[in-house]
């Protein structure tokens, strides 16, 4: 379980995230929505350790991890995907995922093809996202939709307890989105999932809890039904989309 309390992040004069608290727990998909510039990506980067919070604390299973860098947070069980595909295009699909799984293996001077657990974990993650059969291809040859799936497979292969999905559908068409939506619902059963997403239909379909951010602050929080019905949210955010 991940618990962020009173998170703030200042960039010079700009308060990108301001006094934001949220809880992620296994079995729950927590979506964060908000207009561009609301601080959603900054929030993900704060939770993943790419940025250190100016104020606030981040607890992972009872340990304060706010001072840990990305590497250490990843090893502690925080996995993430990137809004812009961030992979190793010249390496094979399998190797992209295997490297993520390898982090949990000791004995770094053993021959990689003889250390089975990372290979098996990688294949399991590829099966899960629906990329089995492509594992020997160079990652750079995949289609955009497949790259989004690979992003998730890489994050999964690290077997994180907390999964931060930063716009996993970015740039995907409707036909690419459907299997990913099903996958996300599935993932929230075993992981504490944070989803940042623009597509409202997707958010309302998969989320258990929705937090609405505007100008770095939390505007509202509730079930998808409550958020859809909220007048404040409609005025501040959804109204723009509908209109």
């Amino acid at each position: 379980m991940m618990d962020a309390r009173g998170l703030s992040r200042r960039f010079g004069g700009l308060l990108a995230v301001s006094d934001l608290s949220l809880t992620l727990q296994v079995g729950e998909l927590h979506a964060v929505i908000g207009p561009n510039g609301a601080g959603k990506s900054t929030l993900v980067n704060l939770l993943a350790g790419e940025l250190t919070p100016t104020e606030g604390s981040i607890w992972l299973n009872g340990v304060d991890i706010a001072a840990l860098d990305t590497e250490r947070r990843a090893r502690a069980g925080v996995g993430r995907t990137f809004q812009r595909t961030n992979l190793m295009p010249e390496l094979s699909v399998l190797e992209n995922v295997r490297l993520a799984a390898q982090v949990r293996s000791g004995g770094i001077l053993r021959r990689a093809d003889r250390v089975r657990p990372p290979i098996e974990d990688a294949l399991a993650a590829l099966t899960r996202v629906g990329l089995r059969g492509t594992e020997q291809n160079a990652a750079g040859t995949l289609s955009h939709g497949q790259l989004r799936q690979l992003e998730i497979a890489v994050a999964l292969a690290g077997q994180p307890s907390v999964l931060l999905l930063d716009e996993p559908l970015a740039g995907s068409g409707a036909e690419d989105a459907a299997p990913l939506v099903a996958l996300m619902r599935d993932l929230s059963r075993e992981h504490a999932v944070l989803l940042v997403e623009h597509d409202m239909d997707v958010v309302f379909a998969v989320a258990d809890v929705v937090t609405v951010m505007v100008d770095g602050r939390m505007l509202a929080r509730g079930t998808p039904g409550e958020i859809r019905a909220s007048a404040a949210v409609r005025d501040a955010y959804l109204g723009h989309v509908v209109a």
Partner: protein, 303 residues
């Protein structure tokens, strides 16, 4: 970084045999020339662990090469069984220290930081009496296992250098197949993602930098042993650049690329004076043409 395919391995083995058979058909001069190419091969190969392995371009590498060479001078007459490990260790310790500082930077700044540290090592031997002065000194070779007559030297050193290079290549070939080697290739491909996966990127890079430094020290030791002469030039940054050139020419994406590049450079340096007095001009033109035409280097021909 790819290793040689089975066809490439056959080629490498045949080339190795050809070099090993030189005592039967070549002159002492040509065997010495081959030793020069073998030593440049070792040096460039050690740098390839950083360049092709982890994507780190370092200009400090000649410093570690030179430290390995100067170890023989500083140790005085000892057995090669002592001087070789001490050379590797000295260069490794220096690489660990310099790497720990230089690897805080990346990209262009890493290049410049390694240049600065490399030149510090150069001036340590160039401007202080520590290493016998700026003109260099003739050294007494370490004791080899058995006594070698002057006439035997080219043959013995040729075979010794060939063995060390073969061992180094085999070692790196195995190393790149380990989880460690795969992680280095991951860092070269996308360092940021490797961090996000949880890999201890800094420690992995430092380990590679240290191992590469040790191997460069071994190459430098073999150079001093072969030539019985050392000079501060061995540590200069242009030596690092020469190794980078061998990697570029041979093929940055291949483990055996630097060996091909080192032999090509040595051959070029030998042949260009036959064509013209403007040796560097010919060399430059040939290298430029080769790099432009062979985007993947000599090792990439026919793939």
């Amino acid at each position: 970084m790819k290793s040689a395919t089975s066809r490439g391995n056959t080629f490498l083995a045949l080339a190795g045999l050809a070099v090993a058979s030189m005592p039967f058909w070549a002159t002492a001069y040509h065997m010495q020339l081959a030793s020069t190419a073998l030593i440049l091969s070792m040096f460039a190969l050690s740098l390839q662990l950083l360049v092709g392995g982890a994507g780190l371009v370092s200009l400090a590498h000649a410093g570690f090469f030179g430290l390995g060479a100067y170890t023989i001078y500083l140790l005085g007459p000892v057995s090669i069984l002592i001087s070789l490990p001490v050379a590797a260790l000295t260069a490794g310790v220096a690489a660990l220290g310099i790497g720990a500082l230089a690897l805080r930077t990346s990209g262009f700044f890493f290049l410049m930081t390694t240049l600065a540290f490399g030149q510090m090592l150069f001036f340590l031997f160039h401007d202080t009496p520590l290493g016998g002065g700026l003109d260099g000194v003739f050294i007494q070779r370490p004791d080899t296992i058995w006594t070698i007559s002057k006439a035997q030297r080219p043959t013995v050193f040729l075979l010794l250098n060939l063995s060390v290079l073969a061992a180094m290549y085999a070692g790196l070939w195995l190393l790149m197949r380990t989880l460690f080697g795969r992680a280095l290739l991951g860092i070269r491909a996308n360092e940021h993602r490797m961090r996000a996966m949880g890999h201890p990127v800094q420690r992995l890079k430092l380990a590679a930098f240290t191992v590469a430094g040790m191997l460069a020290g071994i190459a430098g030791h073999m150079a001093a042993l072969t030539d019985a002469f050392i000079a501060p030039d061995l540590l200069g940054w242009h030596r690092s650049a020469e190794a980078l050139l061998a990697i570029l020419l041979g093929g940055i994406g291949f483990l055996h690329g630097p060996i091909l590049g080192a032999f090509a450079l040595t051959l070029l340096e030998e042949l260009s004076p036959l064509i013209t007095e403007r040796q560097r001009l010919v060399e430059g033109a040939v290298i430029l043409a080769a790099v432009l035409l062979l985007r993947r280097g000599l090792a990439g021909i026919g793939r």
